[in-house]
């Protein structure tokens, strides 16, 4: 099996177990306010980092570049500000990157 298959299966099962754990463990575990706050902030931190890496990291590796992806992200921000639905944001952003590359 390839490394990708291992990642798909292990992370898939792991994510299920994280859900099951929530329904199964006593809620004292996260009663501590600092723990609860950290757990609440982790998704925002990871998603912000994923946006950054996805948009700014050079395809070849360890460098930052501003290219059509950054322009597409600006389009995505605009679409989110006017409360466009998720699919419109994602494919609208993709279309603007594709258009820019055609020019």
């Amino acid at each position: 099996m390839t490394a990708t298959w291992w990642a798909v299966l292990a992370a898939g099962i792991g994510c299920y177990l994280l859900k099951l754990a929530g329904l199964s463990v006593p809620d004292k575990v996260l009663a501590h306010p600092v723990m609860a706050r950290i757990a609440d902030l982790i998704p925002a931190a990871l998603l912000a980092a994923l946006v950054t890496v996805q948009v700014l990291a050079a395809p070849e590796g360890r460098a930052l570049v501003l290219d059509a992806r950054a322009a597409a992200l600006v389009v995505a921000v605009g679409l989110l500000l006017v409360r466009a639905p998720f699919l419109v944001v994602v494919f609208g952003s993709a279309a603007s990157a594709a258009l820019l590359r055609l020019l």
């Binding site: 798909v8 992370a11 994510c15 994280l18 099951l20 329904l23 902030l41 699919l87 590359r101």
Partner: protein, 221 residues
């Protein structure tokens, strides 16, 4: 009941949310194959992992050239928020044994949101199952359609699909920026990740951002 929580209203509202959300699978399927996964791997993620942000994270890290272990770890870290949802939903749903095991699979952002504020168990369960089961079916169907279509469409860069991943993450992040603390955390995490891109292997910058959440969460008053 006229409080907006009547069972039929709960089911109708849940279906609305579920249909809108279920179709995101289309973008996940297309992005999955654009990131180098095959159709089967993309579909197994939707069937088995079934939590959108984690799925996008795994394919995003792999697509950026990160090792499989970093992709898996990022997906798991994002999956921890479902544990929090479970802690809140457990007393509301009141399930044990196999019912709990099945309910856990559809414990996601939307099924929690449509159940957590209901005044009693019957209506909480109605919102939870209507949303969770409908999204599960639609998400998996649209993932397959998106993945097969994505494979037929040629170079993903020509279609801007590499930019679509960033837009998807931003759309998932957007509703989480409601508090100043969350906005500061997101900004710091983005800066740390941008700095780390130039100094660390792919996959590491995103994991370092989890450290930002720990620091801000521990230091905030």
């Amino acid at each position: 009941m006229t409080d907006g929580h009547d069972r039929r209203t709960v089911v109708r509202d849940s279906l609305g949310v579920a249909v809108a959300t279920g179709t995101y699978g289309l973008s996940f399927g297309a992005v999955g194959v654009a990131s180098g996964l095959d159709v089967a791997q993309t579909c197994v993620l939707s069937l088995l992992m079934f939590t959108g942000a984690s799925q996008f994270a795994l394919v995003g890290v792999l697509g950026a050239g990160g090792p499989a272990s970093s992709g898996a770890l990022t997906a798991l870290l994002l999956g921890t928020r479902n544990t929090l949802y479970g802690l809140r939903m457990a007393p509301l749903l009141g399930y044990h044994g196999w019912r709990r095991a099945v309910a856990a699979h559809v414990l996601i952002d939307e099924s929690t949101a449509m159940a957590v504020n209901r005044p009693d168990r019957t209506r909480a369960r109605a919102g939870f199952w209507t949303t969770g089961a409908t999204i599960f079916v639609l998400w998996n169907l649209t993932t397959l359609v998106g993945a097969v279509a994505g494979e037929q469409l040629g170079d993903p860069r020509d279609l801007g699909l590499d930019a679509a991943v960033g837009a998807a993450f931003l759309a998932l992040l957007w509703p989480r920026l409601g508090t100043p603390l969350a906005r500061v955390t997101a900004l710091l995490a983005a800066l740390v990740a941008a700095g780390a891109v130039t100094a660390t292997p792919a996959g590491v910058p995103v994991l370092m951002a989890a450290g930002v959440a720990v620091l801000v969460g521990a230091l905030a008053r």
